[in-house]
Amino acid sequence: MTELLPNLLTAAADRWPEHPAVVMDDRTLSYEELETLSNRLARVLADRGIGHGDRVALWLPKCPEAVAAIYGIMKAGAAYVSIDPAAPPVRVGYIARDCQIAALITVSGRRASLEREFGSDAPMRMVVYADSAVGAPCIGSIPAIKWSDVVACPRGPVQCPAAASSLAYILYTSGSTGQPKGVAIPHRSSLSFVEWASATFEINHEDRLANHAGFHFDLSTFDLYAAARAGATVFPVAPRLSPFPAALARQWSKDRLTVWYATPSTLILLLAHGELGSVDLSSLRVVLFAGEVFPAKHLRHLMELAPQARFANLYGPTETNVCTWYQVDSAPADDLPLPIGRACPNCEAFILDEDLRPVERGAVGELWIGGGTLMRGYFNRAEQTAKVLCEIETAAGSRTLAYRTGDLVREHEDGLLQFVGRRDHQIKTRGYRVELGEIEIALSGHPSVDQAVVLAIPAEEIGHRLAAVVVANPGAVPDIAELKRHCAQLLPRYMVPETIEVRSSLPRTASDKVDREALLRMFSVD
């Protein structure tokens, strides 16, 4: 097994240089072209002393250059930090400072907002524009180079100083304390997942994999690296196409894709508005879904449209990537939630009580995950890491490092795990993980707001809708539109509550906590 993610690309380029590696819109990069372009970017970084131990962020719309940049950053020995292209600049600034990026890959159209955000306080020492053919304006005093300068660099490989234990990437997720946190993944953990997924779903050289997930989302690691491992072709969805289900469905059919890996929200959107019944899905071989519950009626519909495909439910937080899975052998006969299945062979699943002892079979307990796919920790957050990543005692009496998922599960008689709920206020909406606390802190930060509670209203097609209830500061009259704008400046749009209601007070439980259940009942009645 290879030790580093970029070695997958190098091996594929050596074996299949002319084979398409990345196809997006009308652009194709062969394996040799992707290898060469990523080498050039690695050279650009290495020549400026950027490499092992550094972080390089990407904040740009999905494009073939972004794929080359991801590999190039890793080849230089650094870790890539892919930031949601739709993130507001304030969030970009927070992430960039939090992990002290050495360089930023972006596009020239974002320069003005980056300059406003960073001023003279930018952490990086260089910027690379992935689009400019002419000009490379600085951001503040930070020098920038344009992509044509990258393309002009020597094409030969850079000696990669990273090891299997080195960080490959950091993906930021919503944080309950008010700021996102960076999940730091070493090469060997990511490869452990890639090896398992590639073998289990028999990803081969002829496969054509969709890439719908953004590169800031861990679903993308399967798309990119399982494809590279097999010398297959990955088809990133063009930003102009992504919002249009019918056009996307037609494109995926035209591209004769064989593997889809997406959130249920994406698949439901395709089912509801993508006219999937009128496109040819006969090339589809594998459909994987993860990130949220896939309602049975929609899964049945999709299975009817692609009866030849293999369907599987994959489960795992960003901190562990996929750690359990369930193959859907036949369309569900009822509407009960699918199991999250059994632990992958490279992982271990433990169901523990509050005292970290195994629960009796069938009882509800918290899921802890051990094994080869674990994160190293939250970047720069030793205390937070220690709360969720620690040694536990196994049934055999040994000790093992495990991650506390916060998910409550039970094990059925047949050994399948069933998700039951959360032990905290983390929810899923449109496939995104959201800590309600992060939104509450954002709202409470507005001068007109004294208290804020955010509720997750169950919504079958997207997981949950977000609604907020706020209590005003004395004398203040909160303006709903202004509160939404305030949230949008700090949070991704999917975290901005759809509705915000102002109340004079919040209902309380007997123990004087905010009675969320009562508020949820009020919204259900409304």
């Binding site: 056009a247 749009r493 901005v496």
Partner: protein, 87 residues
């Protein structure tokens, strides 16, 4: 309603309601929305719902394609194509 009135209504919805957090001052009817990187699947669904509810039209899924939503003018022309003939 004449075309420019439809465009005004669509423009007001986009700038005042849907994209409340974006600076769309000076947005013209023919400016590309895709180039401003503001369209996502949620926004498209909301635009379709707004058009259907405000103008009493029905927009088939097959018409929800990039070229019909790339500008205020394109959206307005899409609406006009689906207005019942006796309106």
């Amino acid at each position: 309603m004449v075309s420019s009135a439809i465009e005004r209504t669509v423009l007001d919805f986009l700038t005042g309601d849907l994209f409340y957090d974006k600076d769309l001052s000076g947005l013209r009817e023919t400016d590309s929305l895709a180039e401003r990187e503001i369209l996502d699947s949620l926004a498209i669904l909301r635009i379709v719902t707004f058009c259907e509810e405000t103008f009493g039209v029905e927009i088939p899924d097959t018409d929800v394609v990039p070229e019909n939503f790339d500008s205020v003018r394109a959206i307005s022309q899409l609406i006009e194509r689906h207005v019942p003939k006796n309106t």
